[in-house]
């Protein structure tokens, strides 16, 4: 198990990490999106503290940062899980039952798109199209595209994760 961190400690850590990333950028508005991408890469999401830090750095209103973050699908406001599941809902995936697969994930994980399980083990989201239309229906699991993900494969993949976790815990 990871060490428990208090909220204030976590906030301080977020600020520190954000500042470290900001060091690599110039104070230009055009850097806003690349900065947000780098911060999300590091933290997994864009917490309020990070956004405030970025707004101050670029000298722009806080709301401008928030408006960009909420405009683009890539950015998330909630912490990710240890495993990320993104179900492709492109045309080909939809026609081959991507929405049925999404249902299967929802049912098993008991969360909706854009949410994280309470144990922060999984987060679920949809993606417009990852361009693997020939392997439809596709799900991107931990950044790896998986082809032909049908409801039974969802169960299989979750079982594999569970095994892995048990193995780690017993070690």
């Amino acid at each position: 198990m990871e060490k428990k961190v208090s909220i204030t400690e976590e906030k301080v850590k977020i600020k520190q990490e954000t500042r470290q990333i900001l060091k690599r950028f110039g104070r230009k508005r055009e850097n806003l999106i690349p900065i947000l991408q780098k911060v999300q890469d590091r933290l997994g999401y864009l917490p309020r503290e990070a956004m405030l830090e970025i707004a101050e750095f670029l000298g722009i209103p806080d709301i401008d940062v928030y408006s960009v973050v909420t405009f683009y699908n890539q950015f998330r406001l909630t912490p990710p899980g240890r495993h990320s599941i993104r179900v492709c809902l492109g045309t080909a995936c939809h026609m081959k039952g991507g929405y049925i697969t999404l249902d299967a994930w929802r049912r098993r994980l008991d969360i909706g798109p854009g949410e994280t399980t309470t144990d922060r083990e999984f987060d679920l989201d949809t993606v417009a199209c990852v361009g693997c239309c020939t392997m439809a229906p596709v799900a991107v699991v931990d950044d790896k595209p998986e082809g032909k993900v049908e409801p039974t494969k969802v169960d299989g993949m979750l079982l594999a994760f569970e095994r892995e976790r048990e193995k780690k815990e017993s070690q």
């Binding site: 809902l89 080909a92 595209p145």
Partner: protein
């Protein structure tokens, strides 16, 4: 430029080329076998990385002199992962559906032995007496590869491979020409922008060259947001330098100093490969200050999009580059006159830029000889959906839909019937069987209510509901609408709500007229391409498949048995086999139980209609059926 400078450029490039050719010949010395693995994203989704690892492990374990290299996507995505083995004495052979076990056998039997494992062969790359070649495939007759030629044949992470295959020679040729001459060449070629709208490329270049303001910019639009399209991804991942060379040529022609490649964030591998390619080009001074010693300086930065469909629109893309939410602006002024930071900016699609080097190398006349009167050159399509040969195809403009779907794509799988083809993603339309003989080009598609779009082609069969597909696209455009124009923001929402009602079986017959009317209003009242084309999927399905709308509304029935609220799964008692439990085990919600006679029964309350039982039921019984409307399920006597 002075003559002395010109010869210096030529000799500087000759040196680079010589080095590249030495590298290339070392790899292909004719004495050792070479293995190529297609590791574009489509290959990776099918397990290409595991295959690559197995091959490398085996080669290392057995201490073989046999390079294993990564290549891009050949377009035969239906048979990924693909491995190509070139062994001296044999024509290069392409294997499909390779897994680690087959990979091991290929090493043992073919590389070490003499058995080319014919059972796994897809085809040979060249004509020979042993294996049928890919050129003998029926599709080869219709295909013409120009910008996909290098894809899957060279290592995208090796600039030397690209140069040895003739790369960057167009740049050297161009640097010896006045920029006006290049624009003239592009104009005469008749090339039209491949982003969808089909604006004449040469004309755009000329406007941008003549516009005042410095510095000028070149932007490569790689924000391939259309769900169902993946041509740009494949080109970035398989042949990134062809796009970079195209940008250099454009930059030289219009007098630009900087370039941006805008890639979707959903394409992490494309981002990586382009980034790497830019570094390599910079190292050889093919990019940067005083390229090859000339007085032309040009540098390219990669910019990752953040997942907004509207950013494929050029003015929205510029807003996004400037760090703003990607909202479109009114045109004119066009970006070619006033674009990024208010400076003249040329925005071209990935494919458009990839064609340029071929036009410079082979001439405008050659390019203009391919295609139709109004649309020159080739068209690249991403085939997906209910089609046998999913993947990428490049055919001359003017090829008919029928040839692409049935001759190149080998038709519909499982003997199902063709129903429609969706072209151009959310901006395009669904075309019925009667449009199959239509020669595809920019103008012919507009006439029937569709649009070239970026080239995604999703084939639909009898199991696909046309109301549902229209609803799907509208849900997409409604979500992606940036919200600037009222008709687009609210109109798409209204239309979506009506379609939602229809697929739930709660539609009203007057919806059909209202949808038609509203669709025209949204088209007329929106600023950018998203809103102006968003109603196309509805308009085309209403035009060609209005009977399906009516069946949903009047009978509460989905004729394609797709809309989940309007169907029920049912196990036919007289077909169900007592000794078989296939469906019971696979049901993901435990809704199937055997009754006293061991006939399986679905609990309709529990059933989530995922269709797993239908897949699981063995073909010889075929006992699971879909019924529409759900009230068709016999009640009582269990």
């Amino acid at each position: 430029m002075r003559v002395a400078e010109l010869s210096a450029i030529v000799s500087a490039f000759q040196e680079i080329k010589n080095r590249a050719e030495v590298q290339w010949r070392e790899l292909w010395d004719g004495n050792k076998p070479v293995i190529m693995v297609g590791t574009a994203t489509c290959g990776r989704a099918a397990g290409a990385l595991e295959v690559l690892q197995t091959l490398r492990d085996e080669v290392k374990k057995r201490n073989l002199d046999c390079p294993v290299i990564e290549v891009g996507c050949m377009g035969h995505c239906y048979t990924e992962p693909i491995v190509i083995i070139s062994k001296p004495g044999y024509s290069p052979i392409c294997y499909g559906h390779v897994n680690p076990v087959i990979a091991e056998r290929l090493i043992k039997d073919f590389i070490l032995g003499d058995d080319p494992c014919l059972e796994f062969v897809l085809g040979a790359l060249e004509k020979n007496d042993l294996v049928p070649s890919l050129a003998d495939f029926p599709r080869a007759k219709y295909e013409k590869k120009i910008i996909l030629k290098n894809c899957g044949q060279i290592d995208p992470t090796e600039i030397d491979h690209y140069i040895a295959a003739g790369g960057y020679s167009a740049l050297v040729k161009a640097l010896q020409m006045p920029p006006e001459k290049i624009i003239d060449e592009v104009k005469r070629s008749g090339l039209r922008g491949r982003g969808g709208a089909g604006f004449p490329t040469g004309q755009k270049w000329e406007i941008c060259r003549n516009a005042s303001g410095k510095p000028k910019y070149v932007i490569c639009n790689g924000d391939e947001g259309d769900p169902g399209a993946f041509m740009d991804r494949a080109i970035f991942e398989s042949d990134p330098h062809s796009v970079i060379e195209g940008m250099l040529l454009a930059g030289y022609a219009i007098g630009a100093r900087y370039g941006y490649i805008y890639v979707r964030a959903e394409y992490p591998l494309a981002v990586k490969r382009v980034q790497f390619a830019l570094q390599q080009a910079r190292r050889l001074n093919l990019l940067g200050r005083h390229i090859l010693g000339s007085d032309f300086s040009f540098d390219i930065k990669l910019f990752q999009g953040s997942g907004a469909f509207v950013c494929g629109e050029e003015t929205a893309l510029i807003s996004s580059l400037e760090g703003e939410p990607g909202m479109p602006h009114h045109r004119p002024p066009y970006p070619a006159v006033k674009g990024l930071y208010g400076k003249p900016t040329l925005i071209n699609n990935v494919k458009t830029l990839a064609y340029i080097r071929h036009i410079i190398n082979s001439g405008a006349e050659w390019f203009a000889s391919i295609g139709t009167e109004g649309s020159k050159g080739t068209a690249v399509f991403a085939l997906a959906g209910k089609i046998v040969n999913t993947g990428l195809v490049e055919v001359p403009m003017g090829t008919t839909l029928c040839q692409v779907i049935f001759n190149v794509g080998s038709g519909i799988p499982e003997g199902k019937r063709f129903k429609a083809v969706q072209i151009g993603g959310p901006s395009g339309g669904c075309l019925p069987e009667s449009a199959l003989d239509l020669p595809i080009d920019f103008d012919s598609l507009k006439d029937v209510g569709a649009m070239m779009g970026s080239g995604g082609m999703v084939v639909l069969d009898e199991d696909d509901c046309m109301v549902e597909i229209a609803r799907y696209f509208l849900e997409f455009t409604q979500r992606e609408s940036c919200g600037k124009c009222t008709p687009c923001r609210l109109g798409t929402k209204q239309m979506l709500e009506m379609l939602n009602d229809i697929v739930l079986g709660q539609g009203r017959i007057e919806y059909i007229d209202i949808l038609n009317e509203l669709a025209e209003d949204v088209k007329a009242g929106s600023l950018c391409g998203l809103g102006r084309t968003a109603p196309n999927p509805i308009l085309t399905t209403l035009r060609y498949f209005s009977d399906e709308y009516e069946t949903h509304i009047k009978e509460g029935r989905c004729p394609a048995l797709m809309c989940r609220e309007l169907i029920a799964y049912y196990i036919l008692p007289d077909k169900c086999e007592r000794s078989c439990d296939a469906c019971v085990g696979t049901c993901t919600v435990e809704a199937i139980t055997p009754n006293k006679k061991r006939i399986k029964v679905i609990d309709q309350e529990k059933c989530v209609k995922c269709g797993t039982c239908l897949e699981a039921c063995p073909l010889q019984y075929n006992a699971v059926v879909r019924l529409s409307p759900p009230s068709e399920v016999p009640q009582g006597k269990e």
